[in-house]
Structures are given as C-alpha cells and as structure tokens.
C-alpha cells in the first residue's frame, strides 16, 4: 500500500501543479470581447458551433480495439507466472492469441481497418 500512497501523492501534486497555472495572474480571463473569443479559422468566421455529431471514420477499428484490448487483462497475470508454468503456459497463451488474431485477420479482410 505504501507505494500507492506515494504514487497518489505524486499524481495529485503534479496534476495540481500544472492546474495551478490557471491561477497565474495572466490566466484569469479578463473581459474578452466577442471577437476575441471567435475560434481561429485563418481569418474566416465560423457559422456554427464546432460541437457536432462528429463522423469518426475509424469506428470499426474502435470496436476491434474494445474486444482485443481485453487480451491485456489476461496477459499481465500470465506474464508473472509464465516461467514457473513453463511450456504449457506458452501453448495456452499462444492458443488464446491465435484465436484473437483471427479476429484481426477477419477485420483486415473485411476492410474494417480502412477508414470509412
């Protein structure tokens, strides 16, 4: 637990230290005029808000990531006991990975990695 306490202290301190730049005197937004707050478009003016239903073209890749990322959860504990358990562990993980890599191959074949 002690290392985590130190890590937590570090996380809070570094985060707050960087956040603290917000309290520099120059960081307090004075009354900016409306034109000073217009988003930058190289001299052009925006018509609409930028927040929108943003067309993410890599959504198929994101779905693939969701499933494939789970493999991490299994791999970390495997790595710890791998040498103890020996060849059997290697084979079991190889099977697991081969199954998952089939998914990548399928996705590749279907063109899911290409952006829509």
């Amino acid at each position: 637990m002690a290392p985590f306490a130190a890590a937590l202290a570090v996380v809070l301190a570094t985060g707050v230290a960087v956040l603290a730049t917000r309290w520099l005197p120059t960081a307090v937004p004075s009354e900016l005029t409306a034109p000073e707050r217009v988003p930058f478009l190289g001299g052009g003016l925006p018509e609409v808000h930028a927040w929108s239903r943003y067309h993410v073209r890599y959504y198929a890749m994101a779905l693939l990531f969701l499933a494939f990322d789970m493999e991490m959860v299994f791999m970390y504990p495997w790595a710890v006991v791998f040498v103890e358990e020996g060849v059997l562990a290697l084979i079991e993980m190889l099977m697991f990975i081969v199954i998952l890599v089939l998914g990548i191959l399928y996705a590749w074949r279907e063109g899911a990695l290409r952006w829509a």
Binding site: F4, A9, V10, V18, L24, H49, W51, M61, F65, D69
Partner: protein, 306 residues
Amino acid sequence: MNPVAAVGVVGGVLGAGAYALAVLDGAAARGVAGMPRRWADVVVEPARDAALLALTRRSTTERPDAQAWALAPGLLAAMAGAAVASVPLAEGFAVADVADGIVLFGAAMAVVMVGVYLHGWSANSPFPLVGGYRFIALALSYEMPLALVLIAAALPAESLSVGAIVASQAGSWNVVRQPLGLPLYLVAGMGLAFWGPLDGADGADLAGGTAAEVSGPARLAWELARRFVLVAVALMGAAVFLGGWHGPVLPGAVWMALKTLALLALTVAIGHRVARVRLERFVVVAWAVLIPLALVDVFVSGALAL
C-alpha cells in the same frame, strides 16, 4: 517513500527532463536549420519562452467546456508523474515501487488519451476538435503494441514490477535480448506524446491542432504536460530496455539519467528527420504490422526466457 519526498523527486525528474528535452529540441532544430547560435542562448531559450507564455494572457473561445479544458494538461502531467513514480531511478530507489508497475504505466498512459481528447474537444473549435479525434485513432493503434512490448520485457523478470525488470537485465539488456522491443516501444511512445512524425493531434496542418486555441499560461501548461509525457516514456524505456541503473563505473542514477537523455535525443532527432505520418496509413500499419510484431516479440522472448 514519504509523500513529500516522493513529490519532490518526481517533480525534479519531470522538470529537469522536460527542460533537457526543450534544450535538446532547440539545439537539434538549430542544427538542422543551419542557424548557429550561442550555446548559452540555446540553454536559456526554453526558460525565456516559458516566461513569455506566463506573461501572456489566456484566451478562451465562445463557449468552451472550461473545466474540462483546464483539466486536460493536469491529467497529462499527473499521469506522467504516476509513470515516473513507478520507475526505479537507481538500484532500490523507486518513488513507488508498485508490484504491478507496468500495469500502472499502461493505465496512466491510457488516461493520457482522455486528456488529449478533452483538450481537443473542450475548445468548441474545428481544428482542435479534429486534432482530438486524430489522437484517439492514434492511441487506439499504439496502445496495444506499447503494452505488449512491456509484457515481453516482464517475462524473463517473472514480475510486473519495473524494478524487477531492471534487475533481470543484469546480464544483458533487453535491447539486445528482445531486439524488437525498443523500436516498437519508441514508435508507440512517440504516438503517446504526439511527438515528431506522430504529432497529427497538434500538427501544423491544423494550425496547432488541440493547442490551436490556447494561449498564455494554458499553453505553457499544455506544452509542459506534453513534454512530461515524453520524459516519462523515455525514463520507462531506459529502465525496461536499456538496463536501467546497470552500467560500469558511474553510479546507477547517473546511468539512468544518461540513458533517458539518449532516448530523448533519439526521439528529437527522429522528430526533425521524419515527416508527419498520415494517420489512416499508420492505423493499418499498427494493426497489421506493429501488433503482430509485438506478439512475436512476446512469444519469442517467452520461449527464450524458459
């Protein structure tokens, strides 16, 4: 380690690392551009730029998500701090020698994605928005190779602790034992810090991407936080692949510093030599080449460790 000392050590490492990175980058840029400059100027330059940013007013956009915008650089810095805390800086001297150190690193680096996306999203401005979404595509591609090469390094150590991984390199370093590891790690690490060829999120074609609308102290915070992330990546790389504190004659902490600086210099050099990569292409390469290579790295390292 007691929390105050922990904060001091990590703050010192991050600060010194980020400053060294800025100096290296400035020197490399002048070298490549062929603009000679006095060394003294190159060394002071980052401090001058930071001072100017601190004296410049922060601007804002019409209707931003102000809290999330402010949080973004803090998140990046905090996660870089967590990563640095888990790395031993010398034999037996880690700020937080967490037994699952590389999981902590992976978790911290996953949260970096949140920070960069928030930074792009919050401005409610087109270019930062596109930058934020670019970073997610990048992050979803590099995250797996990053975690896999660290797992490969953990195999011979039989532990997820970074200290144990360094200790396991007493004989030969992982950069030799697992030759695929460091190159894959560096590619992923540059993506993580959106540095050099993978800086699409903050690229010049988007007028600065997620940082296109920040000025003054907010810009300072963002530039700092981003460099903190790269320093954390280099420090972890030095420990996991370059043997950490191992080395002749000099004390371990000096070796760590030298190896970290070497990795930083390498990323800076790559940044000035390699053009920005098209993300659509990088994503395919990451899934079709980098992830399979990382898996090969894991299994070959595993077979060798048996």
